[in-house]
């Protein structure tokens, strides 16, 4: 399937869902509840674990999980730009200000600026944490069917929130296509050659404005359809979603054990794993 995204570093939800719907790997056949449970443990582990080497191991396991789903690694590395940007924007100054041994020092306008080992380690740690979760999260969404995600959302979220989530998820693909169509039309008419920041800004504002107007028109049509079909405050779930298998429960138990050990090591016995 061709990707249709206007930013190479942002995952395209239609592309993500395509893999979830068509893939046939062992990860695809894993129970969705198990995958969501494992995602929770990955998030909790990267929050609790402090040692960079253990975090690298978690990242490696997340990439192995992603690869086991027969998902494109090259695309994943392109998508790493987004978390990289967020981590860098938060921690870029720490590589200069974190107390530690100087790795590199220069004089800028009479002021000594140094990159410290602790600063670099901190930034690397934050980056590995973010990438581990992003990789696992994308693997989960790229190996789980749309219907199963909607069932899980409707079970775990409060009614109103679940309804908003389910409707927006359902129409995100159309909205995204619509914005892409308008951008295509603009570019085919040389719109991207427009000179001047103000003109450019107004043009994009027009595109986004149209997207909002169309969305509201669609919302009004959907509301009428919902009422005509007897909407009573919830969307009925018709497809069953089985409980995790014995293997799934074993993986969840492994996640609980790992988290408990990591927490014990961090708060009670720092020598347990050497961090």
């Amino acid at each position: 399937m061709a990707r249709r995204s206007y930013s190479k570093h942002i995952p395209d939800f239609r592309y993500v869902t395509y893999f979830g719907e068509t893939g046939r790997s062992a990860v695809h056949s894993m129970n969705p509840w198990t995958k969501i449970g494992l995602l929770f443990f990955v998030v909790a582990l990267v929050t609790v674990v402090m040692d960079l080497y253990w975090l690298l191991l978690i990242l490696a396991l997340a990439i192995a999980f992603y690869a086991a789903g027969r998902l494109p690694l090259k695309v994943l590395f392109g998508w790493y730009t987004l978390p990289l940007f967020f981590v860098a924007s938060l921690s870029i100054l720490y590589i200069f200000t974190e107390p530690g041994k100087d790795l590199f020092r220069i004089q800028l306008l009479g002021i000594a600026v140094a990159i410290t080992d602790s600063g670099v380690t901190l930034m690397a740690t934050l980056l590995v944490r973010a990438l581990a979760v992003v990789t696992f999260s994308l693997a989960v969404f790229m190996t789980t069917k749309y219907t199963h995600i909607t069932i899980i959302a409707s079970r775990v979220m409060p009614g109103t929130l679940a309804n908003i989530f389910l409707l927006s998820y359902r129409f995100m693909f159309e909205t995204s296509d619509e914005v892409s169509d308008v951008l295509d039309a603009m570019r085919s008419r040389g719109g991207n050659l427009a000179k001047g920041a103000l003109r450019q800004t107004r043009m994009f504002a027009g595109i986004f404005g149209i997207a909002f107007v169309h969305a509201f028109d669609r919302a009004e049509r959907i509301a009428k359809a919902m009422e005509a079909r007897g909407y009573i405050g919830e969307f009925p779930v018709t497809e069953p979603l089985n409980k995790p298998t014995a293997g799934g429960y074993a993986l969840i138990a492994l996640g609980i054990t790992s988290l408990a050990l990591a927490a014990y090591s961090r708060y009670f016995d720092k020598g347990l794993f050497g961090w």
């Binding site: 929770f40 929050t47 938060l90 969404f141 995204s176 914005v179 027009g206 404005g209 009004e220 009422e227």
Partner: protein
């Protein structure tokens, strides 16, 4: 990006739980505010469409003199959907964002606090400019967005400075100094998003004026009644 999104592992478990609990309280307030009266399907559909457009638009890079930026439009969502529904929309967008690395899963709570503040301030500031001082659509939209995003940029500074980045040996004061530089960059991006939002609001004011402050104006319920008004059916 007009505001920063925090990735997983930036905060210690204690602070993560604290901010998540505060976010849960804000979401509970938004849910309760929406539960006071029966929610018409139109309101749910509008909130859902705001979430899907907000997320779709985020994927588009807007070229600016200071480099490409992505818009989130949380203040605009507040203006269009109202503070209650807008807060829920902000959470939904954060959940979608977390799925693709635009903010972490564990950070949905802290990120939602920032976004909810943007939604609420965006809505009330716009309402103030529009109804009290009778400012035009562009300037109302621009001012509401710029003020909301500027405040949220400093809120991020506050949240990160209080929590501190886990693994860092800097004091809270030193963390604050680091984060203030980031806040200045975010304020510049806030002005860019303010201009874009101003144009969108003036565009909406021309083609669909009923959408602006529709929440505050409490438009009549457009639900279709299957029973004909004016008495019992014939026969």
């Amino acid at each position: 990006m007009a505001h920063i999104h925090l990735e997983d592992g930036a905060f210690s478990p204690l602070w993560l739980l604290t901010w998540s609990a505060i976010a849960a309280i804000l979401i509970a307030i938004a849910l309760l505010a929406n539960r006071r009266k029966e929610i018409p399907p139109r309101k749910i559909a509008i909130a859902a469409m705001c979430a899907s457009v907000g997320f779709a638009v985020f994927m588009v890079e807007v070229p600016t003199p200071v480099g490409p930026v992505h818009m989130n439009f949380t203040p605009l969502i507040g203006i269009l959907a109202g503070p209650g529904m807008g807060s829920l929309v902000a959470l939904v967008i954060n959940i979608f964002g977390a799925a693709i690395g635009h903010g972490g899963w564990g950070m949905v709570g802290p990120n939602s606090i920032v976004n909810i503040v943007e939604v609420v301030i965006g809505y009330y500031t716009f309402r103030l400019f529009k109804t009290k001082s009778r400012t035009g659509d562009f300037w109302s939209g621009f001012s509401a967005t710029t003020i909301a995003l500027t405040i949220s940029a400093f809120l991020v500074v506050l949240i990160v400075s209080i929590s501190e980045i886990q693994g860092s040996n800097l004091t809270r004061g030193e963390t604050l100094n680091n984060m203030l530089i980031l806040a200045v960059a975010n304020v510049v991006a806030a002005v860019v998003e303010g201009i874009v939002t101003g144009y969108i609001v003036s565009f909406l004011g021309r083609v669909r004026p009923d959408l602006l402050l529709a929440e505050a104006a409490s438009p009549p319920d457009k639900r279709i009644s299957l029973v004909t008004s004016g008495g019992a059916p014939d026969g």
